[in-house]
Symmetry: D3
Subunit: 223 residues, 6 copies
């Protein structure tokens, strides 16, 4: 009725780390403005910035059993991606599961539901991106799939896709495109660094990007 | 037309403090996953953790008059619990009321509405759990009841029930059950401490909790 | 089709600074409880408190082109006020635009939409009040008006009105009323300082404000 | 772990019917503006107006098992009141359960969650007030209590309380107060009938209710 | 403290009727996609379509007193526009006020808050556009302004502006622009009638509007 | 930069029709409770029930250009599935596009955004499932993909998947699984028909489904 796919593929560790370092906004732009999770997913801490392999996990509403099952599939450098089969705000994940995840080298959690024990999670330095905080506990009664493609917060995520998460939210990069996206993201960052200097000197983007002519063509008038 | 119940009962101070120390998630579990306020109630600060007696106060929408009346009923160790008679986001409570509450030994505020002067509230160290922050002021025109049973953020709260509040939200424990719940919560915490160590050593909850057999019975397959 | 009003009026710098110092809650009260932006507008940082001139900017949904145009109109002491012509959560503003704004002496941003690069924005000390955080990028295709009266987060704002923003949210003061409002806000602050002392000594607002008689007249009973 | 209270008390049938006939707005006013369920509870049909005894039923998120248990407790003239132990939008109730409920003389359903098969429910003439419509199915794994006091959509409801539901929403009347409330509701309706005639003749409430003097006292000015 | 502006200007009746007949979507387009109220404002009935003069009315949260005051200012052909000074879902308006409004020739109500007695309102044929339905009653304690410019559901509305409302929502047309907008709206409608025929014959907008070249220029590829 | 996949596969017409007839709740159950679109997607009419092939279309926020492009790909028996690349409530679709769609044999529209001209849409008998109604118009400036796999309202949809839509919402069935799901759905419907008769005779699901023993095992007590 439910299955766990073992030995799912992974993206290369160096690739994940590099994408994580570049951050969500840059990576998202570099892959053509795709792959963002819905804005309801927010970090519960400030300043964390990670990149890692998705380990995907479906859960029933109010039931966190499959997270326990998914933990066995997690390897160092992975990021747990948990999505309920119907919308739920319950607190699926707390300090015990975080202890286990950290011990196994998991880098963080992305969940389209609630978490709890958030003070402990922050103290442990285990970063979490969630839909909310709610202490409501869960049961362990219903099966669901682990390491299959899932839709999490409106984004399609496959096991082994690269998850990038920081203060701006969460972005997914397809495993097959990760190398290509990294290259584009680096180019973009270099280009932005150049522009930043112009701006800091007080120059206007209207001039740097030659926007004035196109604005006029479209009919913009200064009065 | 409206009433203030004076000399409402209180729970024992030591009981309140002990429950507060254990925290919302643990206490909520210990009493059978009941008593949580809705997740829209969030702390306006990080790291506060309190336990105290509920002083309940109904207010009309956009009207904070009865908080002034409730203040007279508050004693050291109490927590103000304020609920509007219809949904409202206005800023019912700010630094002046907080000064008064603090001077009277009140430990904090739980309110299913808005608050304001939040920078001052944080600076004063007066912890607040609220539905939101909104500077919109209120009038003083309409009566409502003080120290009667109320529904606040979807939880039933009686005067003298124990309020536990921390970064995870707010939980209420019935006065008559507080002692019993404390006992169970301590047992739970001890049990969790044991498990945490196993997890930190890298063991899986699947093994510690003997889940494998039941998962297989339900039909879980590893591919 | 679209216009930029140049040389829009400004409020006096000293007036703006003084109102900013008094803060949103006090200023809002002083002008008769008007002028608040909707509570969905929240600071992305803690502790910022500013007062400045509104530079208003309309933008199409998912299109930040006009912010680039508005930047040219901004002068030291201004605050950018951006409102989409239909509701949008996209990240219209990030670290590059913030670099430009800062270089031009802009004090901060108020936007009824999303922003991104929030870690950078916080690190730069460029304060932002927004509807949310979302890394979703925007295009540059559609014109809209700059420096015209706008409705932003349900408040009417004219170019040159005074924007006051702090941890409680954002309030607008009409340019013609700013001097008068400042006077009233100062009076209010003085009055509150007096009351605060009474409260800190444990006195009740019921007594300080002579509420008991009016409460009894309305029918309040103590049991 | 969970219990069903059998032989819970009932309010008198004639009382329920009379309150149902008067409707939610009138009954709510007659009992001092208390007892309304939150406005998220809306009818899935137009024009239904019922009054009956509450049969209360808690359910786990995503799990409708206890509705099946509650059905056995239902008698002719009852109204099912279902509330999840944590927020859930799933479709707990469809045409099969409605067939069963109708056969047992149940008058309708109030549920702080989702329902499905709504075309069938409307065709059957089985009225429902719900938080939403969602086809997401539920499991049958977790116990919860039946015929105990519950908080449903922010209102406290005891078994045997009178539920009044119409196009305006849902209101609960405490069993002990039902007779008294009915009397007041009838008086209110008579009073309103009188006023309605004045209004239909074009007279103003300002005059009928003698509001002009009090408005002037408060400072209202006509310019 | 509060004022009623008497003898506010009106737009011409024929103009209002003509704009009402054209409907919200067409009028909104004709005036450059401005003037829509936020999408939370929805009709409580199907098929109503009106155009009339705005009579504006501010109300305190949970307090409908000023609607009674505004009623005196209403004339045949007017539409009541009610906006709370802070967000509120209460039921400000029911069948009694509707009887009064109807008797005075008022065409309908637009309110950024709740209404009640909706079955009666529908039966009376008095159309309403509201934020929601909620039976929660209101008090009569607090003054606010009548017939002043207001922001209602994020749109700026002056007394005497033309309100157009139908199943799509509500749009406001500035009194000074109404004649001009009517002309443009009629032109637009004629243009749309022409296109509709092409479409009904199975022709594509890609061809009718010559979009193919511009799509190719932007880089659209068919695979 | 953007592409249109022509000659995307289709599911068989008879299969689509049969699944449409069975309805969302039954089909969703038959495929293991998967494939539902989020509950924010609601019909704008009552009683419509369709099954057809998905033609998928991405659109930029506030920009409906690609719907015009997608129309060319639509064939009789198709259903348009439109999803914005970031959340948007604008009215992307009105009576003109509906005329075109109807002329081309399109059965209906599913859109995770707003629509307008809803009275006309209902009068034309062109069924729509949408996130909301909003008259806000859109521009035609930005490209996006047509007939590629999309995530619409949190569900993954491929071109040629079967869309089933009725008063309960919308469900997608993968093209490769459609035949198998149809078989299971028919079996389910037959089983439900049998149960319905038992219920109509007043029998309890507790007995028909042999739930009593399992309830007792889990610890349910009747008091």
């Amino acid at each position: 009725m439910a299955k766990v796919v073992t030995n799912a593929p992974r993206s290369e560790a160096a690739l994940c780390a590099a994408l994580g370092e570049l951050g969500v906004a840059t990576v998202h732009e570099a892959q053509g403005r795709r792959g963002l999770l819905a804005p309801r997913i927010r970090p519960i801490q400030d300043g964390a910035r990670i990149g890692g392999n998705a380990v995907t996990c479906e859960v029933a509403p109010g039931d966190n059993w499959m997270i326990h099952v998914a933990m066995e599939q997690a390897r160092p450098g992975d990021i747990l991606v948990v999505t309920p089969t119907s919308p739920c705000d319950d607190g699926y994940f707390g300090d015990l599961l975080a202890s286990s995840a950290k011990a196994r080298g998991v880098l963080g959690l992305v969940i389209d539901a609630g978490v709890r024990d958030v003070r402990d999670l922050r103290d442990m330095g285990f970063p979490v991106w969630a839909k909310g905080v709610f202490a409501q506990g869960t049961v362990k009664e219903t099966l669901a799939d682990v390491q299959v493609p899932v839709v999490c917060a409106e984004a399609l995520i496959h096991p082994g896709d690269v998850i990038v998460a920081d203060d701006d939210g969460v972005c997914v990069v397809r495993r097959e495109e990760a190398e290509n996206v990294l290259e584009k993201a680096r180019a973009r960052e270099a280009m932005e660094a150049g522009k930043r200097q112009f701006y800091e000197n007080g120059q206007l983007s209207l001039d740097i990007n030659n926007m004035r002519e196109r604005l006029a063509e479209k009919g913009l008038v200064h009065e």
